[in-house]
């Protein structure tokens, strides 16, 4: 297809984030030296998005992949693409860049045609060079590298390459960030060293709610200084060692007034049921159904869980007069800037926020909080960059946690064994208290600064945006009568926010457990029962594929082993995933194997998608078998790796992942799809092995004994 044909596409709305930021020079810049710089607003979290975006741009421009350089997001340098979350980066940023690159290519070819006299439809592009039919190079992106050419809005009538013409997007290009990580290069924010940089640590109170009564006035060891704002307390010193010593010294000498504010962990389910909140109906359907014959009722629960990043949260801040610079591994630099401005009573324009990579965050962890901590600490040393690093105890004990949840389901089969009715009530906190979205800041330190401000209760995004507690609360199956309700708890004694999957892990665990229970009630195979209630051919295909990979139909019973199946389409609009799990019941349950079938629509990087699916599944195994935040009346007590264990190498199952290729379909994201169905498949495998239906996560011997 010539470029003339490609421009003949019908006009339409600009794709992805290009609709909000249509100027091409906000996204792309060519350099005479022979490279193109891309400035997406989405950030690398370890998910490989920089590589996928570079592939998309290299494809549309027809340049070699190493010529594409991807800048880290910053304010105001990159488009405001909100938060890197929800498995949306390829859809938002990737589709914007695809269109922007196609538009830039068309503009450049038009200019080359005018200047060379070669008709535009006769020009072709080879690694950025524009060639006439006789092979003569008439120009290139680099020779025409003039910012003025892209100082315009993207036209709507540009069409990207057709799927069959793609050569780079859709291949397993190597991660562009991985070499630095394998050679120990200074790539992480944690590795940033600025001239004159100081080191800071926070001294935390002994309770979520506490007032600082006595601050000793003796000198700190190592010449460390103190930054205080109300009950927010940090030490600043020349070295990390000195900062840690000073923090320990000070912590032992402060006196606090602490309050009991947290619910009783031993009776969490009762507390969740009794807690005030608003119930909303997510979906109600009342179509003709068969007469009810048999009914199954069950309740499922998940405790509070947390992100548990391997690297602790870090930020660097520097005050220059009344302006503030912040280096952060936040998922959303503009959102963070907005809340920093509110917390510090500043104008947003006086704050410059730059992204650098941190450890994987898996959702809204303390990455934003620590930026305000660093800004407060840096007040003690105007003009000097101050690096503030959280401890492991802060990482596990002071970052936001993901809501504990209850899911009650009552499902009825008709006389023919089809689902007639399904009533489901979800009880949960909200699932997002991300910064930058409300009138009040949501950064941790605002609750301790003078005057203290309460962080607003976490909200649930609307279902159209994927929902929070109600995410994947509606079964994917054909059910004529349906009532799905969600109670949104009005307060959050423990600060809750987004973690990979939001409400989906608990909801899918509950729904897929009931699906297995209904199949058993009907004396039917769990795969057949699901397929009989699934209309979406793509759903049926992933489910059949996972079952086939696992040898579901021909499986033999093995003493102590069990196999389970589960399916979910993330948010009902995102990627599809089916998982078969094999567990072995020893003194505790171990997950031995996972077979994963994936449909993410168009795949930009197959190996990257497989890595995300497998990583999400292993995260799911960890959440299913181990994870629960522990707390007393005052604070989180699971603040080290012994009290908050995650899955280790020796416990990781074999994983086989297969992708169903759908190059003609829209990309659907990949990062979160496998976690929830993995948990559900493990629950069903445990039932297969032990005859016990797990009701409470994690599936520990204690929780299974109580099921």
């Amino acid at each position: 297809m010539s470029d003339l044909d490609r421009r003949a596409a019908p006009p339409g709305k600009l794709p992805g984030s290009l609709a909000a930021t249509p100027r091409l020079d906000r996204w792309l810049a060519f350099a005479r030296e022979g490279h193109v710089t891309v400035t997406p607003g989405k950030v690398e979290l370890g998910q490989g998005i920089l590589t996928a975006l570079a592939q998309i741009v290299a494809e549309e421009l027809d340049v070699a992949l190493p010529r594409v350089r991807v800048s880290a997001a910053s304010t105001p340098g990159s488009p405001n693409e909100g938060v890197t979350s929800g498995s949306l980066s390829v859809q938002d940023s990737g589709m914007a860049l695809r269109h922007a690159a196609a538009a830039a290519r068309a503009i450049h070819l038009e200019v080359a045609a005018q200047r060379s006299g070669v008709p535009v439809e006769a020009l072709r592009v080879e690694d950025g060079a524009f060639l006439a039919p006789d092979g003569r190079v008439v120009a290139s992106y680099w020779s025409q590298a003039d910012a003025a050419l892209l100082a315009c809005e993207a036209p709507a009538d540009v069409r990207a390459k057709p799927p069959g013409a793609r050569r780079v997007a859709g291949t397993s290009a190597a991660r562009i960030d991985l070499p630095d990580k394998v050679f120990g290069a200074a790539r992480f924010l944690h590795d940033l060293r600025l001239p004159g940089m100081l080191h800071a640590r926070v001294v935390r109170p002994p309770a979520r709610r506490a007032r600082l009564v006595t601050l000793p006035d003796d000198a700190l060891p190592g010449g460390a200084g103190i930054a205080r704002d109300g009950a927010f307390l940090a030490v600043v010193a020349a070295t990390e060692h000195a900062a840690e010593r000073a923090a320990t010294h000070l912590a032992a000498r402060c006196r606090w007034d602490a309050e009991d504010t947290l619910p009783p962990q031993h009776a969490l389910a009762d507390w969740l049921r009794a807690a005030p909140g608003d119930r909303a109906v997510v979906l109600e359907r009342d179509e003709p159904a068969g007469a009810p014959a048999r009914t199954l009722r069950a309740s499922f629960s998940r405790p509070y869980v947390t992100h548990a990043s391997i690297g602790t949260c870090c930020a660097v801040a520097r005050w220059q007069g009344t302006t503030l610079e912040v280096w952060t591994h936040s998922q959303g630099v503009y959102n963070l800037r907005a809340d920093l401005a509110k917390a510090l009573s500043m104008a947003e324009d006086d704050i410059l926020v730059r992204h650098m990579e941190g450890a994987g965050c898996y959702g809204h962890n303390g990455a934003d909080d620590v930026a305000l901590d660093a800004a407060l600490a840096a007040r003690a040393a105007p003009g000097r960059p101050v690096r503030l690093l959280w401890s492991r105890a802060e990482e596990l004990g002071w970052g936001p946690v993901s809501s504990a949840m209850l899911v009650d389901i009552e499902a009825t089969l008709d006389a023919t064994g089809s689902i007639a009715e399904w009533r489901e009530e979800v009880i949960s906190h909200g699932h997002s208290s991300r910064p930058g979205r409300g009138a009040l800041p949501t950064l941790l330190a605002v609750e301790y600064m003078d005057p203290p401000r309460e962080i607003p209760n976490a909200m649930n995004p609307p279902l159209a945006s994927g929902g929070g507690a109600q995410r994947n609360a509606v079964p994917a199956y054909r059910i004529p009568k349906l009532t799905i309700g969600v109670k949104h708890i009005a307060r959050m004694p423990l600060r809750v926010s987004a973690l990979r999957g939001l409400g989906a892990p608990a909801n899918v665990f509950a729904i897929e457990s009931v699906m297995d229970g209904l199949a058993a009630l009907n004396g039917e195979d769990a795969l057949d029962f699901r397929l009989r209630h699934l209309d979406d051919p793509r759903a049926r295909e992933v489910l059949a594929l996972a079952a086939g990979m696992a040898g579901w139909r021909g499986r033999a019973r093995r003493e102590g082993f069990g196999m389970g199946l589960a399916y979910a389409r993330y948010k009902h609009t995102g990627a599809l995933c089916a998982v078969a799990a094999e567990v072995e019941a020893l003194d505790r349950v171990v997950c031995r194997r996972l077979w994963i079938a994936a449909d993410v629509g168009e795949v930009i990087n197959p190996d990257g998608v497989a890595n995300q699916y497998e990583g999400g599944a292993i995260h799911g195994v960890s959440m299913a078998l181990h994870e629960a935040v522990a707390f007393d009346a005052r604070m989180v007590t699971s603040t080290d790796w012994d009290s908050y264990p995650i899955l280790r190498f020796s416990e990781v199952p074999q994983v086989e992942t297969r992708l169903i290729a759908r190059p003609e379909e829209k990309p659907l994201g990949a990062g979160e799809a496998s976690l929830a169905p993995t948990i559900a498949a493990i629950a069903n495998a445990i039932h297969d092995a032990l005859g016990i239906r797990p009701r409470a996560m994690p599936f520990t011997p204690e929780n299974l004994a109580a099921s």
């Binding site: 979290l45 370890g46 998910q47 490989g48 397993s172 190597a174 991660r175 960030d177 991985l178 070499p179 630095d180 990580k181 394998v182 050679f183 120990g184 290069a185 200074a186 790539r187 992480f188 944690h190 590795d191 060293r193 070295t239 990390e240 060692h241 548990a308 990043s309 391997i310 690297g311 602790t312 990579e357 941190g358 450890a359 994987g360 898996y362 690093l389 401890s391 492991r392 190996d607 890595n611 995300q612 497998e614 990583g615 999400g616 599944a617 292993i618 995260h619 080290d640 790796w641 012994d642 995650i646 280790r648 190498f649 020796s650 990781v652 074999q654 994983v655």
Partner: protein
């Protein structure tokens, strides 16, 4: 002063009681060894001391006086990678990568004492190392690949 060998070069640093990790990352300017927990519980800080894995987050710098310390920076370079680094790239064994520095040097120690470890031996050797992204199986494959290359 504390004198020791770091990645083959003689270094000496002030003796102020700091853990080796802070000295490596601070005065000596390295970025590979990382703080993950400060309690020998995650492996992000692991370096080799005379070839054996050690947690730099708690080990006082004085403890390595006269000894040889190897960090991930000492294994290889992009131009001349260690077989393990080459294998990790080949298998794309990582996501966020924060855990990799410690895992790579632990794998070096493993292959030095067992040139042909089976899957279980690799997992046992890496069990003190936490990876949250779920790259474990790729990492195990990469170690196997490097072992095969180093035996050849």
């Amino acid at each position: 002063m504390v004198a020791f060998t770091l990645n083959g070069a003689a270094v000496s640093v002030a003796d102020d009681g700091a853990p080796l990790l802070h000295v490596l990352r601070g005065e000596l300017g390295l970025s590979g060894p990382r703080l993950g927990c400060g309690a020998e519980a995650c492996g992000a800080c692991v370096v080799l001391v005379d070839g054996a894995p050690a947690h730099a987050c708690t080990l006082p710098a004085q403890a390595v006086a006269g000894r040889s310390v190897t960090t991930v920076e000492g294994l290889g370079t992009p131009a001349a990678p260690h077989p393990l680094q080459r294998a990790f790239l080949h298998e794309q064994a990582g996501q966020c990568g924060f855990c990799l520095s410690g895992i790579l040097v632990a794998a070096v120690a493993l292959l030095a004492r067992d040139p042909d470890p089976d899957d279980a031996a690799i997992r046992a050797a890496l069990d003190p190392h936490l990876c949250r992204c779920g790259s474990h199986n790729r990492i195990v494959r990469a170690v196997r690949r490097a072992a095969a290359e180093m035996r050849a």
